[in-house]
Symmetry: D2
Subunit: 379 residues, 4 copies
């Protein structure tokens, strides 16, 4: 799959692997590393190579590690700056096309009217609906590609299409990311409780069916919109037929093959839930807490300075608990200087779970220092 | 004005100059260099220092050169990468708060309901409306700042507020930018013909009253929305009371004090139109062509390679005219190699004016190579 | 201390703290964070603020945390790219002036001829030699600054001078760095065994008296050269009067105040050795191994890919031991794909201690993957 | 030619073209774009494709446009930061191996002792000397490659070897660069007057036979050292048998096929001088001035700010002439503000020719603002 053609004419490609089981469907699409420094998903996919062989593959899977060589090679100095495209400033996971609604990346030709489709398919079977709607989505992506021809296809759209043309085929989509400094956690469609539990990941952020540009949204929201359209038009037996997850596998810049085996185990359990693998999903080994993404809040750094985290990511906290110390030695103005003058404490503004610290230990003021789940419930 | 506090605790500031005339109003707000490598507006403002002194200053002006030290100092190697914030990927001119509508940067507390205001002010005088609505906008910005306190103010919002808190005071706003490689051109609110003519700039892009995040939009759209709300509520004599322009002063990375004198002359003419300076605006010296921003189209590079422009920015072209050659030596595959094999021609897909070439002469595929005005009319 | 003046005219400064003890000398100069992402030294200095107060300060100390705001703010995306100056490509720790020899950054006026000084001071007392030679070095730095005036002082020289003008005053210099992913280790002048032991840091790299541009070299080599010159001219009782160390405090991008207390304890022990603090240095708690920097070898990555470290930094290994796996999923070419095809093993080319892994877990081919001490001895 | 293997396993290659004439020798090696944003040499090479066909090719030529895809793709924002390697900070034109002397990039195995060779070849014919010494250089490069195998070849050495393995074969080497903002000029070996005149380029910087890491030096200095060794050993008829030039073709980020035709004409004239093409070189159309690189002096910016150049690059100036204005609006502190307060004038510290301005119009303090030739003579 060609992801970008560089200024020197080199084609940057991602390797695409097809694992064909006894049936073509259910089909899973699993990719990793769309953000350049979020590496662990590659280990998970490599471990899946082995586990899919060993397990009983009932459906099929498309596996794409290293899906974004553009981001992965944006290395300046030691580290990779892989979230935003150096050419366009775009977050690589915010430019997907929203086929059933107006999108920032919108291309008129690619708009799909779910109500028209529902009205025309009120008496179709569920499998006719599934196949027919997928045909319509496929046609919308083709139209977007065609529309790009007169004025040249924008590199961001080319990137989105390369991925969406594969993902649109799938019944379940998993986009493997990592947090900055974080435990495993999951973005799941609101209400997908059983599926979320199948992953056995302890923290779940529930996303409503609205569009912010990410692949999970681009994959499941059109099918949600379709189900809603059927309801609006009087037919209530059409479920959302595609689910999609952003799976956060620990911290940025971490890569471990042995952890990858663990991660693959979690994903395989979810694939059993979706019938891609034979068998039953695992029971989660511990409590799973969830909250709405609307209750997932970021605390911005109150000063520019060094970050000394006080709690580990994944820790429950109470309002007022100390989360981190921000440290700026230039704040020491007494003689002799005192360490304590350099410190500004950051405390929890409410109860919740600290999920994530900024990847860097030195940050400007006003940057996401900590992200917290609030208004928790058990899943 | 503090624009950013760095990780080492240094405050990056922009210099703010007040030119107080005989009256406080009309008040102009003029800033330059919000994108780090777009320099010429600074020369224009410096030249205005002298011309405001010489001309008869009836109203007042706030002048802010070098408004964005963050962007201006994003220098990697020789050049400045000043459009997108290295920390957040955000375009520095897309994060302003949209006070009368839902915005990406939206902060609930800062929403202003124009219909409520219109209904409450159906019998107010125009000057009561102007002062009252400005009070409401000011309060909305204050609310946004206050709302940031619980979780810390996001650096992007801090940047937007620092500028909008000044710009909201103004009757006319001018944001001085440059194109990539381009002549002088102007983004003007749709219908602001006389004002646009006062600048005497030969190319005008007309922007509808919708919001994409830029300062000109953030400044005039709320007042447009207010006027529309009055119309909806039965009062038709309330005009849009604030105008805002993005003034593009030539090419990126160009800086000339002598050209700045010319640019200041154009701005002074517009300030006379708005009554900030005494006297009549100049008559434009030549034809002014305009089109809607919806008809301002970008041609993306068909291959990655070197760019050999064939027409100068600002040139009218016909459909099919050769605009540029894209050159990739690796395409030469015959022996002996031939220059012509390296070349992919880029031709105009329709009639129009070539306004802009990419700043770099070496670009990947799918990047904005040329931007063209189409469906032109004379202003 | 002004370190840089930006393009927008902002002066980037480093905070300088003087801890004055009962006597002016011995004087220690301690700085941290000359490389932008090497943060832990700041925690050590802050902890020293408190411990110097509590301990009996016999001499004095200059403490400069955050010495390089230029490097610390070179943040692109999440991480800091703080080793090389974005403007000049220069390693911030390779541009110091070599006053007693030819240097890359050489400025003719600043050359100090140690033999002339030795000949003229054959019958001086040791303290006259120490004071006299420091005067000469000081004058050489002043000459370098003066010479810059005709053509403007180069920013790299300005940076070097700002630091060297302070460090030249000291009897012992400590430059606090970190490795990439590493334990605590120490660069010490060849032969400075007792001093090295005083730090109690388990790994020591011994540097000969040659010049590569680093601050430790720039600080002690002139005094070494002086001692050698006296010997050449027949006087053998003049020791090297200044020592300098690069102290590596763990991994890049790590910052911990509590670890800083530990680090300060190690530094305080060394300061007791040098008589800056009253009392005896601690005995090292474990074995200290050392090797020459000439036996400190880097293994470059054999392929571009992901890095899965197998041994922890600080681990002794035998020739042939597996150190890391490099992983490139695109190497899987069989159907079905196999994890093992993606892996290239990296094994120890000889016996030694693995000291350091690259900071990033995704690197191109030919980049320092692992650094190893070889030809070890106990100190 | 593979130049780099990325972290995602993609091989970045440069296209290599061989133009075989009637004889294998004399052989020219011509490359372009080793610095990522120095583009015009590519146009020259493409134009040479055509002119070598038309002219009578007596010897042969290796032509490598786009020799450095690593540098060319280091694009951040609009522009290319292509001088320093993002991974190592290294200037791409400073890492070549110095085979006959100690070099920074030195690899012990690759050292060639010219005196031993001279002594062993005192009675050899000139052509035996030429072929024999080239064999020795070739072997030294092979040894460097072999030595890299135990610990993995450093990416910088891999880059240098890929180029030097081709360039070592040549009788004349041309490395096509550009200045920042500059006219055409030439770096030529000291004393190569006739060859320099053959290029017809108006400004020549003469480089002595010492090594700073650039390709021209790496190519001709070993042959210079050989000639000197013969003289030291009593044989005076052995000339320097290889010449090498850095040809600066105008300004950074400029690319023009039509200018490329002009540039190819200049290079073809030099190729006639060296017998690669049949016929006589052109007579220069105007005066050629030269100076030693030791008299090529840089003026560093006295303040951080905007740059308003006053003279065009290539202009002769007298001591005290105004060269540029540096402009920082924040320096305006009076009320009302005055343009003149923002300006710091930069004047010529001596007579000479202004050859080059910084590529950017906004720079920090202490950065190369202007470079001037001084102590000129006519060639």
């Amino acid at each position: 799959m060609v992801v970008r053609s560089t200024a020197t004419g080199h084609e940057l490609t991602a390797p695409v692997f097809y694992a064909r089981g006894r049936n073509e469907r259910p089909l899973a699409y699993i990719q990793a590393n769309v953000h350049g420094a979020e590496l662990q998903g590659n280990a998970a996919i490599l471990a899946l190579f082995d586990s899919l062989e060993k397990e009983n593959l009932r459906g099929s899977a498309i596996l794409v590690p290293r899906v974004n060589p553009v981001g992965a090679n944006q290395q300046v100095g030691d580290y990779v700056a892989g979230v935003y495209d150096f050419h366009s400033g775009s977050n690589f996971n915010r430019g997907y096309l929203f086929l059933t609604g107006p999108s920032r990346a919108a291309i008129t030709a690619s708009y799909v009217d779910v109500d028209s489709f529902a009205v025309a398919n009120l008496s179709s079977s569920l499998s006719e609906i599934r196949d027919g709607f997928r045909d319509v989505l496929r046609a919308a992506l083709a139209a977007a590609r065609a529309e790009g021809e007169k004025y040249g296809l924008d590199a961001r759209v080319e990137f989105a299409l390369a991925i969406q043309e594969m993902a649109v085929e799938a019944d379940v989509v998993m986009d493997l990311h990592t947090g900055d400094r974080a435990p495993r956690y999951l973005y799941a469609p609101e209400g997908a409780y059983a599926a979320s539990r199948a992953f056995g990941i302890p923290f779940v952020l529930e996303i409503p069916a609205r569009f912010g540009g990410a692949l999970d949204e681009a994959s499941f929201v059109p099918w949600h919109d379709l189900a809603e359209a059927f309801i609006r038009n009087g037919r209530t037996d059409v479920p959302r037929m595609v689910d999609a997850f952003t799976v956060e596998l620990g911290s940025m810049n971490m890569f471990s093959l042995s952890q990858g085996t663990e991660d693959a185990r979690r994903i395989a359990s979810a694939l059993r839930y979706y019938g891609v693998l034979e068998g039953e999903p695992d029971n989660p080994s511990g409590r799973i807490v969830s909250c709405s993404v609307n209750d997932y809040r970021s605390i911005n750094s109150p000063i520019g300075g060094l970050v000394d985290p006080v709690v580990a990511p994944g820790t429950p906290v109470r309002k007022g608990d100390l989360l981190a110390r921000m440290v700026d030695p230039a704040r020491c103005r007494s003689t002799p200087p005192k360490l304590e003058d350099a410190v500004v404490e950051v405390r929890a503004p409410e109860d919740g779970v600290v999920l994530l610290f900024h990847a860097a230990s030195s940050i400007p003021r006003g940057v996401r220092l900590v992200s917290m789940m609030t208004n928790l419930r058990s899943l």
